[in-house]
Structures are given as structure tokens and as C-alpha cells.
Amino acid sequence: MRLVALFLAIICFTSLVSAHSTATENWERDLDNGYISTAPLLTDDLVIVRTSGTWDGSGSPHVFAFDYSGEQVWQIENAHSLHHDLSPLLLVEQGQGCGGTWQDLVIVAWADGKIQALDVATGLEQWSAQTEVITWGITGSLAIDGDLVVVPTRQGLSTYCLADGALQQRIELDQLGWRNGVTVSDDAYLLGNEEGVLNTIYRNGTVISELIGNGKIRHAPILTNSGILIHIQTTDASEVFIAGELFLTAGPSPAMPVIYNNQVYLATSEDFIFLDCTLECENVGIIPFHSNGEIAIQRLDDGEWKVWAPQNNPEGGWGVFTTIDDWLILQSPNDDYATAAPGFGSDGSYALGNDKGILMFYNSQQNNPVISHSDEEFDYIFIITTLILLISILASTPAFIFHLYEQVLKTLLPGVVIFMAFNITMISTAWSGYLSEQVEPEGDWNDSWPKEWRGSQIVVFELPEGEVVFGGLSGHKTVENLTDDAAFRVGIIIEKEVFDSGEWVKSIDGHEGAGWEFRIDGERGLLGISEAQVNSDSVIRWYSA
């Protein structure tokens, strides 16, 4: 009897320990050296994520691996990268083929053209290769073709043996690519580029190039039953082509489309689009939504699925779509601009990351893993300083009643100074906004710009080599956010420096000159970039002082 009791006790204890070891908490980690622009990868026990550098060029892009409890297992850094590390990490299961055998790998492609195959468990480099750099290196998504990894390089395509990184095929192309992921079909690799050309690269090296449209192909082509689907980014909108034919036009800055069970999901700065390509592709419906990055499929246990798309505006969060009529926006406590899709684990866990550089892990066993509305953040400084102000007002009242005006000032002024000093940003921003309303701006519209940019946010960089303009933006509240967004989209690196009064731009695309200043709608900027407010139709013009 005692033995049975002991046996049962051991079983209970073991199960308790087991339960404790698997029931990990939700957690978040601030990867403060960069933005998370691509989806985290979840293995059975690790969350692997990369940072894509920072807007200001400080710090270096990293790849981190955390276990499910949030402890960092390993990390690597590329100090030479070019801060646009937008190629998604690629997980490869162990196998054998050309070059021998390989363990579970995570393949990392960098903006400086380097490819690294890392051991998933340790982060140790198994092999590496270098591809060409023409301003940038690799920014598109890689693909697996049997025992090869297929790499869309800046101006071509290379394949490497997974076991040892030996180069198997190299194709030079005429056009440059940017975020131009590669798709592996039965007999060829499909690759778009910045000139709207779709290259079909057969395994024997034959290349067939087809001009799809007047724009940029910035995603891996999609294979549908109706033919190859390409979502082209044009100057002020986007166009979806299927089998070379224009299928529909949509909003600007398209996201990277995905296909699952013959359902194609696309997004732009204005729309989330459902296509049913079971037979011929049909437009099922369009929902207003702002997404410009990755789209991911979450497979559910019952065979159903949900589609996740990051919302790329200041509100942030992730749109979760089931059908055209069933969707919602999930928000995290750290919402910001987001272009990275979530990473999903086989047990229902998932990880989120956004431009704040905060990795958020949610365990499937936790209830309510993502809150639907972010908590209101209390501004404790405002509350405390307001209390101090009120106390000083109250304390000065008796002196006021007895006409002791010097005593009134003596009691009142410290409270006023403390309140103003700690809330000066809020006060000066409000005052500046009021002044802006009173002063009629002269405007800064150029008739040669696309009409569709009217009413949107536009940024002009007056670089020594000429003007670079990007418009059609929306949702930005400050000069800093708007500038960063535009710079990122046109591939310009902004270097900032911090003064006692805030951040100021030190260089734009490597040009320091005699300093950089900005005009908002023709008026000289008078506040720091993080404080200067913009309207929904503002034109920011950066010029060398």
C-alpha cells in the first residue's frame, strides 16, 4: 500500500514538474538595436528573430535566439551590414544532398550580400557565402529547392548546397532587385525586380524575361491555377497581374502576397484583398486596411486557417482575417508601425515584432495572449506636476486674500515652473500648432508630382545628386516619423544626433554638408524633428543648410 502511495506521489510530482516546465509565460524582449521587419521563426523550443538595423544607422543588425521561457540562447551580429536586412530568416530541416549532410539550419541573408547558414541550436556558422553588393545586397526572401538554397541576389540569382555552401548555379540578370523574393516552381525559379520584369530562370540556366508592368516587383511571385500572380508597385498605386494580364488595380505600396489552399491574400496601404484562385482567380472582396509588409498564414488544428497582416501605421497591431466578413485588429502593449508577420509555433505559440524592436512571445496555454485594446498609459509626470501646481495655487490663496502679493508669487511660481518645465514639450507643441493654424502656409506642392499624392504626406530630400521625393504616405504625426518612413521606402539612410533639445538630422544618405534643415509646407521647421508636428497633407522638404 505504501509502495502504491509512493508510486502515485512520484507520478503526481513528475507531472507537476513536467507541467511547470512546459507552461511558459508570455514575455517580451526589447531588441533595442533595431527594428523587426521580418517574421520571427519558431522551432519546437526556440524563437529566432532578426533585426533590420535602425533608421539612424546606429547599432548593428542582429539575429537572436530565445528559448520559450525568454532566455537568450545565442545571438549573432553583422557589424558590416547595411541596415536594410529585410530578407526573412529561412529554417531548413536536417537532411542530406549535395555536399553531404546538414543539421537543422537557419539561413540568414544580409543587406551586405553575405549568406550565413547557422546551426539552429547554437547559432554557430556552418558555412557562409558572399554575393554582389550594388548599394545593397540581399533583401528578398530565399527558397529551398531540394538540397539547395536559392538566393535572390541584388542583380541575379545563386544557388548553394545546403550542406557546405558550395555554389551550384549563378545567373546574372540585367535588373536590380529589392525585396524580390524567389519562387521555386517545378522547372524554374521565378524572380521579379525593380523594373517590373519577371525572370523565369530554368535550372539549365536559360532565362526568359517578361515585362509585366511599369513598376517594381517586390515579392516572390505567386503560383496560382490561373498563372503567375504579380503585384506590381507603381508610382502611386499598384497593379495585380495574373498570367501577364492586368487583373485589378489597388492602393499604393503593396505587401508581399501569399497563397494558401488556392486563396490569395494581398494588401496595400489602402486595402486587404481576398482572391479565390481555386479555378480562375476571382476577387472575393476588399477590406480597408493598411499593410505593406509580410502576410502570414496561421494554420489551425481543425484544418482552417487565419491570415495575419501587420498594420503599418502609427496605431500598429495585426489584422487577423478569416473571411471578408470576419476579421479584427489585434493590438499589443507595444504597438507601432509593423511590417513583420507573426511567427507561429507548432503548439499554437506565436511571436510578434514591430518597428519598436520589441519581440513579444505568446504561449498558447495563456489566456488572452493578445489584448484587443492597448491599456491607456497614464502620464504620471503630468499628473504629479499638475498636483504640485494645484497645491501651490492652494497654498498661495491665503497670501492672495491678505494682499501679500510677493508671498503669492513666492508660493505660486515654483509650482508653475515645475509644471511648465516637465510639460514643456506638450505646451510648446500645442502653442506651435496654434501658431501654425494662424499662419497661412505658402505650400510646397509641385505640379509634376502625381495627382494622387494630393492630400497625402510627402517628403522631399534635396540631395546633391538631385531631388528624391516620396509621397502618398499617411498617418504620421511628426516630422521624424514621416521622414523615417519615406527614407526607408526610397532606401535613404538618415543619421541623427541627439542634442539637449532633441534629435536632429546629421546626414542624409551620407551627405552631411553644413547641416540639414526642413520646411513644413514651405515654412522653416522650428522645433526638433520628434516634436515638429505634420498634418495629413504636409510636405516635408529636407535641404542642406
Partner: protein, 218 residues
């Protein structure tokens, strides 16, 4: 000459910064060079007040435009006289800017506070207790004028008059904070600072029997 455009104006080459420093140091030296019966005591008094004020400014630096130096310059001008008040302003600016941030604007700040000290010497220079009413009035006027004077440092070839006026208008909330802070310092610290300087100065000058002759403009 100009390396880059900073928050308060152009960032200068080191040789130009050196030239500004030399000019300011020579000015302070010349203002302090005068016969004294008790030079050690005077040096001690002036340097301790300069150090205290500079340290206070550095300590207050996280609070934007809260400038204890303005009040200190008014009191120093009133109690030490024109020459030593102006020298005090220059030395405090140089010393505190070494910690906070140094540049083209140092010239404007030093000259601005020197003018504040001169105003203190001119309008508050009376024997006995500091006239608080006058000090408060001067705090308002000099804080505002000091801010506008220093704002001149941002002017360059492309700056239009409208730009400058808009710049000043945008900065009014900061000016207001400067005014209130200077008034608060005046009410809370000025009497003590004035007494400290007066007591020490009277000890220093008791043997001189020349009163404030050194502050009379020639």
C-alpha cells in the same frame, strides 16, 4: 568656419571656438584687473559665487530654459558692480557651457548675461536690502530680452525676417518658463545670494573707503 547647423546655430571649427574663448577670457580678465586692498578675499568671493552659479545652471540643465544664471547676474551686477558683474556673467557662461554645450551661442549667452548684469548694476545698485519689486520687474524684462538676444545666433544667410519672428513666436512658451523661473529664483534665492555677496564685499571693501567707484561708468 561652419561645420554644421546645431540647435542654437552653427557649429564652428575649433579654431573659431578658440578665438571666442580667448576673447571672452581676455574681456573677463580686463574687467577684473583693478587695484584691490584684499585681492585674495575678492578672488575667493567671486570664484565661489561663479562656481556655485555655474553648478546650479548645470544642475538645472535638464529643465529646459530654467536659468538661475539670469537672477544671479542681476544680483551680481547689483552687489558687485558693473565690471565684476559682467566678468561674473562671462565666467559663469564659459564654465557652465564647458559642461552643457559649447558653440557659437556661447558668445551670445555670455554677452546676453553680461547685459543682464549691467542692467542689475544700473537699476538695482543700491545700498542695503535688495529691492525685490525692481528685481522682479527686471527678471521679467531681462529674461525675455536675453532669450531674444541669444536667438540671434540662429540667423544665417537664408533666414528671413519672417522666419526669425516665427522662431521667436514659437519660443514664447520657453521664454515664459524662463521668466517664471527667474522670478522664482529671485524670490527664493536672491536675498540670500545678495546678503552673502554684500557681507563678503563689505568685508573686502571696508579697507578701501572708495565704495562703488569701480562700478561708475567712465
Amino acid at each position: 568656419m561652419v561645420l554644421a547647423s546645431g540647435t542654437h546655430g552653427p557649429v564652428l571649427e575649433s579654431s573659431w571656438m578658440l578665438a571666442i574663448h580667448v576673447v571672452l577670457i581676455i574681456a573677463a580678465f580686463l574687467l577684473l584687473t583693478k587695484p584691490s586692498q584684499n585681492p585674495r578675499r575678492e578672488v575667493l568671493l567671486l570664484s565661489s559665487v561663479v562656481l556655485f552659479t555655474a553648478a546650479l545652471r548645470v544642475a538645472m540643465e535638464p529643465l529646459p530654459n530654467v536659468q538661475p544664471v539670469t537672477m544671479a547676474c542681476l544680483v551680481a551686477g547689483a552687489r558687485l558692480g558693473l565690471r565684476r558683474g559682467v566678468a561674473f556673467a562671462i565666467m559663469v557662461t564659459l564654465l557652465s557651457n564647458m559642461v552643457i554645450s559649447d558653440g557659437w551661442w556661447t558668445l551670445f549667452q555670455a554677452s546676453g548675461w553680461a547685459m543682464v548684469a549691467a542692467a542689475g548694476a544700473k537699476f538695482l545698485n543700491s545700498e542695503g536690502v535688495l529691492n525685490m519689486k525692481h528685481l522682479l520687474y527686471l527678471s521679467v524684462v531681462t529674461s525675455l530680452l536675453f532669450d531674444w538676444w541669444v536667438s540671434l545666433s540662429i540667423i544665417k544667410s537664408g533666414t528671413t525676417f519672417i522666419d526669425f519672428i516665427l522662431y521667436l513666436a514659437n519660443g514664447l512658451t520657453f521664454d515664459l518658463l524662463h521668466i517664471f523661473a527667474t522670478m522664482a529664483f529671485a524670490l527664493w534665492l536672491a536675498p540670500a545670494l545678495s546678503d552673502l555677496i554684500s557681507e563678503d564685499a563689505s568685508l573686502t571693501e571696508s579697507a578701501l573707503a572708495v565704495g562703488e567707484t569701480d562700478v561708475v561708468l567712465g
